[in-house]
């Protein structure tokens, strides 16, 4: 049998799922954390195993986004005997949540209601008469607090009971005990009646969190809070990341690994194929963990010492922001800007995820309603958002030349991101759908839940990244030994040298970049590039193509044709921006002027796209007189 967890977004379905199955899934304090269904299994009372499915949140059974579609499809597909829907309900927002409950009951599927977030009702001055609610709905209602685990065992018991007689009852269904499909008006009227009977709200004083909630969506205070939050996030990531590298990982590698690999290097005779493969080439007679390119040197050093601390730091900060519930408020703040780029404000959520890793970000674009929006967001993401793994290596490699070079790299990437959106919004038919989203209340993060989430993300990083890095290092060694790299270098020399001012050996980094961006950037280190060449190479490496893992996800999400378009745009953007940066920087222009240039470029693009948009609008208005109502949407 199967148990479907269904409910409104952000009511804690995934938390219930974790409790039931013991499987860890990402849970956050905002709508749309789960965009795909997740499966797990649980043992019911009678010792029977049941498959539990965590379904993306939906407000009603009329889907309005891809994630909601998944939810409704799941329900439609699930009409086997003995299957059960566990309707997870936010007890603090009973009124809105009951709409879906009523719709589910009308479908005549066996339902158990989990009244989740039960512990929060007390703080909020809400009291619910559970027995009466159960009586009215005619199905079991169990108060739960999935984060603490309260009520979960009772829920499991009731599921077992319902499951036992569900298979029998189903055959009898059709005698119409429950009402059939009703109109929305009837449902809302029914909800009003139910609430009048079961729910009492006592007034309570505004807390500090309430005031903070209001302040963060007001124009002036909201902007100040956003700047503060982003600044603090950035500072914290650097502090944790750098601290871990300097005081933990680097000493650990120097103290533990260096003696071992040095001895191994001597034992292998300091050169030869196996030496190069395992230890890498010696630089000035010594093993250079960053540049030697051996499996045991660079292959371990890059992912663990250079990247892991920053990935960890980023996910700690991101997870706090997620669990507090800040991200949707940021979406409100940037909604205007995002509309100019062809998306609504919620697109900022996958974009921020992208700074950690582009893979979950590409999946996260599912919370956007239209195909157009998804395409724009995904393309901008793969061009302009470097993942934390890459950022970590960039900071290590280029930070030593001074912050201004990092500023140029991120300035150019930001400009690329912005221009991509502006241009795509102008040339693609259609317009961005309006923002409509629930803003969750601020919640204080639960340390244990937070820790679990960070650990889960780190585990994904370790299990995905390290094999890829090792594979990449192996692959590059083979390319070197076989001489293929020299051939490719000669072929691409005109582009690399002429356009970007890079030596032909840089091709190895571009090839590696298909697989992993962090190692690719690391590979620039032994080439002896000037800082200008490094900046250009990093910009091109970020933008020209998403890494293999992201590519696979995008291919699935966008389809082959759109992915091809997206990849072409990325290629043009990357080499264009690389060439331009190369030209500007080879004239030894001060950083300030570069930024003025970026601003001017963006301004020009904005003006041109505006002009394009208005002419297109006029044209389409002239085209259809009667199509007014349709285009007004």
């Amino acid at each position: 049998m199967r148990i479907l967890l269904m409910g409104n977004p952000n009511v804690g379905k995934s938390a219930v799922f974790s409790r039931l199955t013991g499987t860890q899934v990402i849970i956050s304090n905002y709508s749309g954390t789960t965009v795909e269904f997740t499966k797990g299994s649980t043992v019911l009372r009678a010792g029977e195993t049941a498959e539990v499915i965590d379904v993306p949140g939906t407000y009603s059974l009329e889907a309005t986004s891809k994630a909601e579609e998944v939810a409704v499809d799941m329900l439609d597909g699930m009409l086997d005997e003995g299957d059960i829907v566990v309707n997870v309900v936010d007890a603090t927002h009973l009124e809105r949540n009951l709409y879906l409950t009523l719709q589910l009951l009308e479908r005549n599927v066996p339902v158990v209601v989990a009244l989740n977030l039960w512990d929060e009702t007390k703080h909020k001055g809400i009291s619910i008469n559970v027995d009466r609610l159960q009586e009215i709905l005619g199905v079991p209602v169990i108060p739960t607090s999935a984060l603490t685990g309260e009520g979960i065992d009772v829920l499991v018991n009731r599921i077992s009971e319902v499951a036992k007689d569900a298979s029998g009852k189903r055959k009898l269904s059709g005698d119409g005990k429950r009402p059939g499909a009703r109109s929305a008006d009837e449902r809302w009227a029914e909800i009003g009646r139910i609430l009048a009977e079961v729910q009492k709200i006592t007034h309570r004083h505004h807390t500090f969190l309430d005031r903070l909630e209001d302040a963060s969506i007001q124009p002036v205070t909201g902007l100040i809070i956003a700047i503060l939050v982003l600044y603090l996030s950035f500072k914290t990531v650097r502090l944790i990341g750098e601290g871990l590298i300097d005081f933990v990982f680097d000493p650990m590698f120097e103290g533990l690994l260096r003696p071992v690999v040095t001895r191994l290097s001597i034992a292998l005779g300091s050169e030869g194929f196996f030496h190069d493969l395992l230890i890498g080439r010696l630089i000035n007679g010594e093993i250079d963990f960053e540049a030697s390119m051996g499996l045991l040197s660079t292959g371990l050093y890059v992912p663990i010492t250079m990247v892991l601390p920053y990935v960890f730091a980023f996910y700690v900060v991101l997870s706090v922001l997620e669990d507090v519930g800040y991200l949707p408020r940021l979406a409100v703040l940037v909604d205007n800007i995002m509309h100019a780029l062809g998306m609504h404000g919620y697109a900022i959520v996958p974009t921020i995820l992208g700074f950690g890793c582009n893979v979950p970000a590409a999946l996260g674009t599912r919370i956007l309603e239209s195909r157009r929006e998804k395409f724009i967001c995904a393309t901008m993401l793969s061009i302009g958002i470097p993942c934390m793994a890459q950022t970590a290596v960039v900071i290590a490699l280029i930070g030593r030349y001074g912050w201004q070079y990092l500023a140029i790299i991120y300035g150019v990437l930001f400009a690329l991101w912005l221009i991509t959106g502006l241009v795509l919004n102008a040339i693609m038919p259609g317009s961005s759908p309006p923002l409509l989203m629930e803003i969750p209340p601020y919640r204080l993060p639960h340390p244990r839940v937070l820790g679990k989430k960070v650990w889960m993300r780190i585990r994904v990083f370790l299990s995905d990244a390290i094999p890829y890095v090792l594979l990449g290092v192996l692959f590059v060694n083979i390319l070197h030994v076989s001489g293929i790299i020299d051939v490719l270098g000669r072929i691409f020399a005109p582009i690399l040298g002429g356009l970007l001012g890079l030596p032909s050996e840089a091709i190895v980094a571009l090839i590696m970049g298909f697989l992993r961006k962090d190692v690719a950037v690391g590979m620039l280190s032994p080439l002896g590039l000037s800082v200008r060449q490094l900046v250009v190479a990093v910009i091109v490496l970020t933008a020209y193509f998403p890494c293999a893992a992201t590519y696979v996800v995008l291919l699935k999400e966008l389809g082959a044709v759109d992915m091809l378009k997206s990849a072409l745009i990325a290629l043009i953007a990357a080499f264009g921006a690389g060439a331009l940066t190369n030209i500007v920087m080879s004239r030894t222009v001060p950083v300030a002027y570069i930024f003025v240039g970026i601003f001017l470029l963006i301004a020009v693009v904005i003006l041109v796209t505006r002009a394009l948009k208005t002419t297109k609008l006029k044209y389409s208005e002239a085209q259809s007189e009667d199509g007014k109502s349709a285009s007004a949407m």
């Binding site: 009603s60 009124e95 809302w188 729910q199 209340p441």
Partner: protein, 99 residues
Amino acid sequence: MDGATVSLVDVHEGEQVCVVDILGGCGLASRLEALGIRPGTNIIKRSEMFMKGPVTVEAHGTQVAIGYGMASKILVRPVGKKPNKPSGKNGDIRQDITA
């Protein structure tokens, strides 16, 4: 208590209003409806972002951000400036709405 019907974007922050009508296609109406915002619902306008940014309202104790264009299609009628009362008032208010 009586007031003229205005668009949600013209309402002051902190004011409690009652939704009278939702203009625009049924797609818009049904998306709002799923969030519990429908003719007859009492909502409080919480904020409006600058330069025609999203309007945030509180409906049934939940905050919902609505894009400006969408918000301008929600017609409302003031019902006084009291903070929101406990819910369960949907039915009676809808009686005196005339289109």
